[in-house]
Symmetry: C2
Subunit: 433 residues, 2 copies
């Protein structure tokens, strides 16, 4: 609420939007009561749904980000539209149970193995759209351009599935997807400065500008990207992306782990948003990015669960602060309310949804968190209940409402039912020998 | 099991110990069925129970470890035996719900405010013993010697509660506690090289040796301890502790975050165990310790939830690996089975309990983890189910058995009931203005 957290708040919706938000109200008899702390719906600004099938399967492997990527590519080869639909539906349902009401799917698995287009060229995107619809989440489909394997290296092997013929072919297919997938918010994706040549960046940026669509790009997740970019172009990834229109207020740079001080200034002064994915950046040994410096420079922050080693936006949000504590030996880089904002309004802005605050006219997306259970009992002074972002987990979300409609009721997914079973079945399909 | 994870395992107990452990068994009709993955009970090797009342209350504060410590001292002043009993009972019950079957309480809050002894000098230790008994956990009471505020600085203010007159007085009181608290395993604690003068270290070490008791000591949690120790003695904390008998196979060094390469060799070659407390070391901005190097040098590892910002030993265990990924850019420092061992057998050894493996003759302490829920579905290949340590949370523990008796049944605490309420009530008592 404008004055902070309030008690006995009546939320009324008109269609899928909030009509009134009234504190200290006497609820009408037919009102549904949400116990605990009610927050705007959590927004997962960066997802690769299929990576969920790797959870608990790569943890005995030595190596680094790149050896993990080889495992991820093997998995990518196993997917087709039906399997992807089943897997993403279950993953999005897991997200719903965790209080996530909107997800940005960074989607580059466009074509059949070898790169052959499906009869319906957007069959994979349509599978994701159906999955999100069935799981009750808003989907921003970040249709991602992925044209080469690295600077001066063509697509190879599993990567062939990711590639359109060129940026113009990508733009045509993405425009078709926008027309074919009406419930979905379309966004443009440039996979990275490695995967999209400079001229093609201009095309992606132009497509997003023309449609006033969000634009997402992986940026400096690994030092090797910086080194390759510098060697190939004499520029940092952020500088190269900026020269070709990829940065600015409609853009979300994902990770920004290994950005230079100059990059921080560039990102911030252009109001480029930054999506941090701390559980993934820790799992994949990426490192700790300069989140506070980026914020101070002017970049709005949001968070994503990315590889889904963990699906818990409270954990992502608090990790933004906790990892900077590890890096600096100091506490208090980010206020709890700023972390909650990153996980709600920040994500909504990055994905192009009019959500993330509980105010009349905004989308009626909100969640209830159990403050009486063991994890939150005693946590959060009455004047600072936002500190629950440091104590809550996905398991503490009890109710989820999207567009005024219940999606999760008392920890149960209203439509999908047994989400664990749906996950197990879908993952078995794509991992069985 | 010796050959790894097995199916349909029948555990039979004789009194509080396992009598037989049989895989592929046909269970008798009156056997209780534990679903999911059954593991040895988790062991929390380092706890300060009262810190739980700070969860979600210091996260808006800037500062560092030392400013947090000032808040912790304010809280310490609010405790008396009754309040401490109520708080610790609820905190230990939270631990039980998280699958923890034994806890090491690093106990230095011995006396009334100002340092005046209670009529029963071990009233606070007795409160902890009763709390653990009611919560169903095994307690190792690490009765901790705390004699000065820092090198050449006397105890002041809240610290006066921690201090006995001298090391001999500490030893007499600890010996009395051992006689008065029969269900409890007694251990010796030296708070730190800051708080215990060298001559007194000899007394603490002698007390532990004489009783063959475990000995625990905080070591190099913060760079400031190293600097002060070097300035005052010309030695690192590990070297000073070693000179005065505090290291060796009966000892657990807690944290060891800022140890030098020489310290690592010293700790490892003496087989001193190291207790990592990663969620606390991250929360308090301590930093990332060299866990893999310590293990390689010869130190057995265990984990503790310490300040209880988080009570989740799966999270502690995986953080040992995940934080080293952040520090190094590489994956695979610790195998999942080693992390699980740290959270079970490693902790049991550090606390002096004959537990931590499922084998005939060992204590019948074990837990069941729900592998069908959203977090674990699909995680852990059948040949490597230990990878669930990367996916499970405290909320996935369904059943807990200690000494053959059920403590948690289908996520409910058998004796304490509503643990959230018990926590809320106890925390309100010690935090209300």
């Amino acid at each position: 609420m404008p004055g902070g957290v309030a008690e006995r708040v009546l939320l009324t919706a008109d269609g899928d939007r909030l009509e009134a938000v009234t504190a200290g109200a006497d609820p009408p008899a037919d009102a549904a009561r949400l116990p605990g702390l009610v927050l705007p719906g959590l927004v997962n600004a960066h997802s690769h749904a299929f990576h969920r099938a790797l959870r608990g399967r790569t943890e005995s492997d030595p190596g680094d980000f790149w050896s993990w990527r080889a495992r991820m590519y093997e998995l990518a080869l196993r997917l087709d539209p039906d399997r992807y639909h089943a897997l993403a539906r279950a993953v999005y349902a897991e997200m719903a149970l965790a209080g996530i009401t909107a997800v940005g799917e960074f989607h580059y698995l466009h074509h059949a193995p070898g790169g052959r287009p499906y009869a319906e060229p957007n069959a994979m995107g349509a599978a994701l759209a159906a999955a999100a619809d069935e799981a009750g989440l808003r989907l921003t489909l970040v249709d991602t351009c992925y044209l080469r394997g690295d600077f001066d290296v063509p697509l190879r092997g599993p990567q062939l599935r990711f590639g359109d013929a060129d940026a113009e072919a990508w733009a045509r297919r993405a425009s078709d997807a926008a027309a074919e997938l009406p419930g979905v918010r379309m966004a443009a994706g440039a996979h990275s400065v490695r995967a999209v040549p400079p001229d093609s960046m201009d095309v992606v940026a132009g497509w997003a500008a023309e449609r006033d669509a969000p634009l997402h790009v992986h940026l400096s997740e690994q030092p090797a990207e910086n080194e390759a970019c510098l060697a190939a172009t004499g520029r940092t990834p952020a500088a190269l992306a900026d020269e070709h229109g990829l940065l600015g207020p409609r853009t979300t740079a994902v990770h920004a782990t290994h950005v230079t001080a100059g990059d921080v200034k560039r990102l911030g002064s252009g109001a480029t948003a930054v999506c941090l994915c701390p559980t993934t950046e820790r799992s994949l040994a990426d490192g700790i990015g300069p989140a506070a410096a980026l914020r101070d420079a002017g970049s709005p922050l949001c968070v994503g669960s990315d590889s889904h080693a963990v699906v818990d936006l409270f954990e992502e949000a608090r990790a933004v602060e906790l990892d900077e504590r590890l890096a600096t030996g100091r506490r208090g880089h980010h206020r709890p309310e700023a972390l909650l904002r990153a996980a709600t309004a920040g994500g909504a802005a990055a994905l192009g949804w009019d959500a993330g605050t509980l105010a009349p006219g905004r989308l009626a997306d909100f969640v209830a968190v159990d403050t009486a259970g063991v994890r939150l009992a005693g946590a959060g002074r009455r004047d600072l209940p936002t500190q629950v972002v440091f104590a809550a987990t996905a398991a503490d979300v009890t109710h989820v409402v999207v567009g005024g409609r219940p999606v999760v009721d008392d920890r149960a997914h209203v439509r999908v039912g047994d989400v664990g079973r749906a996950l197990g079945d879908a993952i078995r399909e794509v991992t069985a020998p």
